[in-house]
Amino acid sequence: MVVVGTAKHAGKTTAFNALRAVARRRGVAIAVTSMGRDGEPFDALDTEPKPRVRLAAGTLVALPAGLVPRSPALALLDRGDESALGTMMFARAVSVTTCEIGGPPTTRAMRATIDRLRSLGEGPVLVDGAIDRIAPLAGGDDAIVLATGAASGATVDRVAGAAAEVVARLRIPGRNPAVERARMVRITGALDARGAEALLAGSHDVTVVVEDPTRVAVRGALFAQLQASLDLRCERPLHVVACTTCPVGRGAALPARALVEAVARATGLPAFDVVADLTAPRE
């Protein structure tokens, strides 16, 4: 399960930690890693405070050698690909450990890291993800949780609208010959704005197939037009299963209940505010 955010400070790591806390409360042994450098006390770019990652005893973790804490010592199990902060290490927390975590730099290495964590443990793998690095999840059975919040819009409607657009893009359906249109256009590489305009200028009785949703570089109204006019599909779909909301960000505070309900309504996914303990079911 991979948590990604619509913007910085959208509550991604908070949602990630909430999932871990719930797993711990239910006695589910988990494995964790990150698609970037996470868990440091302050954001490297804007020095905003960030939640630390607290690993319960028994938690499997993949992190670069440079982030392996000196205390308490981790049980080091295996090594993986190289990263900017050293070789990726697979470890088990022997006692409660608070640390930074980070991940490998390439999609192939990320996929290998997740697979290795799955083979080392029996429980789910939780990944503190990044929305621009989820290509390795395409075609797999990984679930994606989208964290959104006040950091991505000044009003409830704007936050919900932004979340809906991201979810629509990430949930481009997989191939289904039974409903596909007679003519098919296969896009190799990225589908950009110029390509989208060209497709819209032609016949709309067409199924457009991209490799995976991350290859769609079109945003906003153009993407909406594309989706409304054509049958847009992908070879390797992603599975977005839920949203989380964070009503605080960018110095603004939005009404928490209205936000979680609006996001559920706009995305068609269940939404949760894990800090305020609010749930809005799928609509």
């Binding site: 908070t14 930690n17 909430a18 806390a21 719930v22 409360r25 939640p51 050698a65 392996v68 000196r70 205390s71 308490p72 010592a73 981790l74 049980a75 080091l76 199990l77 295996d78 090594r79 050293g86 070789t87 290490m89 022997v94 006692s95 409660v96 009503p247 605080v248 505070a253 009404p255 928490a256 209940r257 505010d273 894990v274 800090v275 305020a276 303990d277 609010l278």
Partner: protein
């Protein structure tokens, strides 16, 4: 020993890549070993003979498995260096040293399985293995309690403090749930005023008080827990220091082991080469270049990739000799083979030949065509040859091999021929060792040096081939060509240029006209 053009033409670049050690220790050792030169004959011969013996004693699969095992041994030198300097080591360092110990053991097993001699078995480091053993399980590493006396008690105290903190966290969380209805899954939570607007329970502090919500945090600071953590951290550092000291003691033995691994890596690269391309123990003689049925491995490798066969070459070169013969007959290959075999012995590699007598040289120089350095100097092909010729002539001696491939072919033939004759005479006067390939007539006779030639196309051996089928034409030429280097006094010299042009599909009328002109 050579410049870039020569290294490329005589296959030295290819050879160095083929001999690349698989491990960092082997590469490091290789960088410190200079090629053998004049005076190093005994050492070179000892290394080459050792490689030939090992190539015969070990099977090829065994060598491949040994090299794979070598490749898997991690490079621990930086860790040992830090340990020796007294720097603190980290658990990842101990884990890597564990991999090093495992790698050595796997290499020793591969050696035994390959039938390697017991007295040359790769080293293992028992004391290092024993030092790390308490923390090792299934290839991993953990700083177990056994590494320091204070560690078990310190860890137990921290566990107790964490348990006490967890109980306090749960007690506060329970009060929050009971009072507000909010379930705080983390240490911070939000209470909407529309849900609950009353006082928050003990053990909770308000972080942000907004009109519609309050953000609160569980008060979980614990001096006892922090103190227990500090004591446990110190105990872990003590354990690491003690282990690092034991590792520092092993550093000298580890360095010896790494040196031995480097030597094995270097030798196995040569053994694999000898097994792949054949080998002999040469006579290291300074008076010429002689070899029987030698393989110019870079060309043989390229031909093999295209499904073609390589014809081994023989040569006897003393002093200066001119080599003539047909196009595509292997003149350049003969020059390259001479340079390649000399480079082999300079690098301690058995020459791939049935037998050979070769010198250890101070230098090998190739003149012919232009290389990257020449193009960088904006020299034309002719200018590059002249400049290279000038520099080579200035340094010419019996301790260098000069390989000249169609010198002055890009200038007017009369002047070019005259220049080449003068060049060969100058080389002869300096006592140089040189092989000169050319299409110019009468060079050897005028300059009074030996004249060798490629035997050339066998009479009537060239069959009919479709002019559009280049592969078939090349195969036919390969079958019909006699690549032997013979004394030019035995039979007439031919270039076979017109016959080859026909076979390669050149316009038949044009070839016929050319034959008329040639016969006139």
């Amino acid at each position: 020993m050579t410049d870039a053009l020569t290294a490329e033409r005589i296959g030295l670049v290819w050879l160095r890549a083929a001999l690349e050690p698989v491990g960092a220790f082997g590469r490091r050792l290789d960088e410190t070993i200079a090629p053998y030169g004049p005076g190093d004959e005994a050492r070179a011969l000892e290394e080459i003979a050792g490689v030939v013996a090992r190539a015969r004693a070990l099977d090829r699969d065994g060598v491949a498995r040994l090299r794979a095992a070598l490749r898997a041994v991690p490079e621990p030198s930086p860790i040992f260096a830090r340990a020796r300097a007294g720097d603190p080591l980290a658990d990842v360092d101990f884990y890597e040293l564990g991999r090093f110990v495992d790698g050595l053991a796997a290499l020793a097993r591969a050696w035994d399985a390959a039938g390697g001699a017991p007295e040359r078995r790769p080293p293992t480091l028992g004391a290092l293995e024993a030092a790390l053993a308490p923390g090792r399980e299934n290839g991993g590493f953990y700083l177990v309690d056994a590494f320091a006396e204070a560690l078990p008690a310190a860890r137990a105290a921290l566990a107790a403090a964490e348990a006490e903190l967890d109980a306090r966290r749960e007690a506060i969380a329970q009060r929050v749930r009971a009072t507000t209805g909010v379930d705080p899954v983390g240490d911070e939570f939000v209470v909407l005023r529309e849900v609950y607007d009353g006082p928050l329970p003990d053990g909770v502090r308000i972080v942000r008080d907004a009109p519609t919500y309050r953000t609160a945090a569980l008060e979980l600071s614990s001096g006892a827990r922090d103190a227990a953590f500090a004591r446990m951290s110190e105990a872990e550092e003590q354990a690491r220091r003690a282990l690092a000291e034991r590792i520092a003691v092993e550093a000298a033995r580890a360095n010896d082991a790494l040196r031995a691994l480097g030597e094995l890596d270097r030798e196995l690269a040569r053994v694999a080469f000898a097994q792949r391309w054949g080998s002999c123990v040469p006579v290291l003689a300074a008076d010429g270049v002689r070899f029987e049925e030698a393989v110019f491995a870079p060309l043989a490798d390229a031909l093999s990739e295209r499904g073609r066969r390589y014809t081994p070459l023989s040569l006897d070169l003393q002093g200066v000799a001119v080599l003539t013969g047909p196009n595509m007959g292997g003149k350049s290959a003969a020059l390259a083979t001479a340079g390649f075999l000399c480079a082999c012995v300079a690098l301690g590699v058995p020459p791939p030949a049935r037998e050979a007598a070769l010198p250890l040289l101070e230098s090998i120089a190739w003149i012919g065509g232009d290389g990257p350095q020449d193009r960088a100097r904006l020299l034309s092909s002719y200018a590059a040859e002249i400049v290279r010729g000038r520099e080579t002539l200035a340094q010419a001696s019996p301790r260098g091999l000069i390989l000249i491939d169609e010198f002055a072919r890009t200038t007017g033939p009369r002047e070019g021929r005259a220049l080449l004759i003068a060049f060969v005479e100058a080389l002869r006067a300096r006592g140089a060792l040189a092989l000169v390939a050319t299409h110019f007539d009468g060079i050897a006779e005028t300059a009074e040096v030996a004249h060798l030639r490629i035997a050339g196309l066998r009479e009537g051996a060239l069959g009919e081939v479709s002019p559009n089928d280049l592969d078939a034409a090349l195969d036919a030429i390969n079958r019909a060509m006699d690549y032997r280097v013979v004394d030019a006094r035995d039979g007439a010299a031919r270039s076979d240029a017109l016959a080859l042009a026909t076979l390669l599909g050149f316009d038949s009328a044009a070839v016929a006209r050319a034959r008329e002109l040639f016969d006139d």
